[in-house]
Symmetry: C2
Subunit: 276 residues, 2 copies
């Protein structure tokens, strides 16, 4: 496995890879969610490139950029075991040199939900993914359904900007008790970790009512809220029943939707979603 840091090193190493090239962009501190993307890329592609970069421009001023968990040596061992051909670990100076001033903005789909709670977040995401796509030039790129709005933003951006890249969105990987895997789960205390199971419980339970015939968007949102309310440590940021591509809130009858939530648990912000 080749590990490179600079853009020039990346370009040289990229040229030697057999096509099709699959790409998994990450912020490191890898868990089985990331590794499921790598495994899918290995199945689909002749070569797999993984980037590890904690992208400062997608963090808000009061967010957790400084304390975001990092463990490069462990990440590299996991990627080596997974059979990854090339890992790129650029520095902030490589990605955002002095004088940097270009941004990619995806408008409507970036606005609700995470866009409201984290202003500027999707500008940072769309910009770094554009840069990574241009540098790595993969044929396919892999993202997790866990970050459902991010996946929608990137699908839209890739189509709008005519990237010749297939965007693959892979299922959320969960802990045995249902908690969606996230690098930020490490922030949770033992008590919070236990309370966090209410997120997936709320989604799964409401999906059961949907599958049993409940089609009213407001009732579905209320179903999630009611389950979340059973856990006093949870502060709800939003519960949404939204169109899977536009992330527009659905009112009235639901045919196909994403059920999404964001909560604060102690000092940790968690999101989860499920497809109805």
């Amino acid at each position: 496995m080749n590990v490179v840091v600079t853009l020039d090193e990346l370009r040289v190493a990229r040229r030697k890879l057999e096509a099709p090239v699959g790409f998994v962009p990450t912020m490191g501190f890898l868990h089985d969610g990331h590794l499921s993307l790598v495994r899918q890329a290995k199945l689909d592609c002749a070569s797999v490139v993984v980037s590890i970069f904690v992208n400062p421009t997608q963090f808000g001023e009061n967010e957790d950029l400084d304390k975001y968990p990092r463990d490069l040596q462990r990440d590299l061992r996991l990627l080596e075991s997974a059979g990854v051909e090339l890992v790129w670990t650029p520095s902030s100076e490589v990605m955002y040199p002095t004088g940097y001033q270009t941004w990619v903005i995806v408008e409507e789909v970036s606005k609700p939900l995470e866009g409201t709670m984290r202003p500027g977040h999707f500008r940072g995401v769309a910009t770094i993914v554009t840069k990574l796509f241009n540098a790595v030039q993969p044929q396919r790129a892999y993202f997790g359904q866990k970050d459902a709005q991010q996946a929608a933003v990137i699908r839209r951006m890739s189509r709008d900007l005519d990237f010749p890249i297939d965007i693959e969105v892979c299922p959320t990987v969960r802990e045995p008790d249902g908690l969606a895997m996230s690098s930020r789960n490490v922030y949770l205390s033992a008590e919070e970790r236990k309370a966090a199971t209410v997120l997936s419980r709320a989604l799964f339970h409401t999906k059961i009512t949907f599958d049993a015939g409940e089609r009213d968007a407001k009732c579905l949102r209320q179903g999630v809220l009611d389950t979340l309310a059973t856990e006093p440590l949870i502060k709800v940021q939003y519960v949404s029943c939204a169109h899977p591509d536009s992330l527009m809130e659905i009112e009235g009858n639901v045919e196909r939707a994403l059920l999404l939530l964001a909560v604060i648990l102690g000092k940790t912000r968690l999101i989860d979603n499920i497809m109805l």
Copy 2:
């Protein structure tokens, strides 16, 4: 010469081209300025791709999108004669389908001069060039020094977004009387066409004073203004002595600079510039 319209046709035709591929993006109604870019691309590259697309998103609401001159058959004859391999003439529906919502913003360098006079112009330029780059995937792309700020915006954008493309900026091509070639020159009446020679005269004359030792930015700007003032049909929009990369206005001593101007002549807006 292959002429294609859809993105799929473009991608299929692009795959057959020998590398390196040179790319000349245009809005059509070609003149010798465009053709000089094609000739340079032919010299540098194994294959040359030209796009013809009057990009609506770089026109302001009260600008000349509807009356912008077009002559596709003549353009194709000129490009065929020049030995171009592939011409792409996408429609607005191909480039901006329903639901389109992604924009590329280059911040500081887009703000002064044309950015002030034409709000949103460089957002449209940076976005369409990103799309064209992703679709055509050239090794080199050619732009005219005539649109000096546009060239600076695209250089900055290409570097910031890590496009693996060399940006080549070629000299302004002028009519025998000095007028910089522009598709918009066709708007000028005979009287206006004669008056328009004052633009290059103002720049050339001021460059002579620079070469003779004048180094004060304000005096250089005033030199341009004084010459322009000799032509009563001209309304000055700006005269600038600016840093060639940042387009920041220079105050005091000038070492290396762009001298730029924009004027209104009748109903036609004209720009020109010269390097000091």
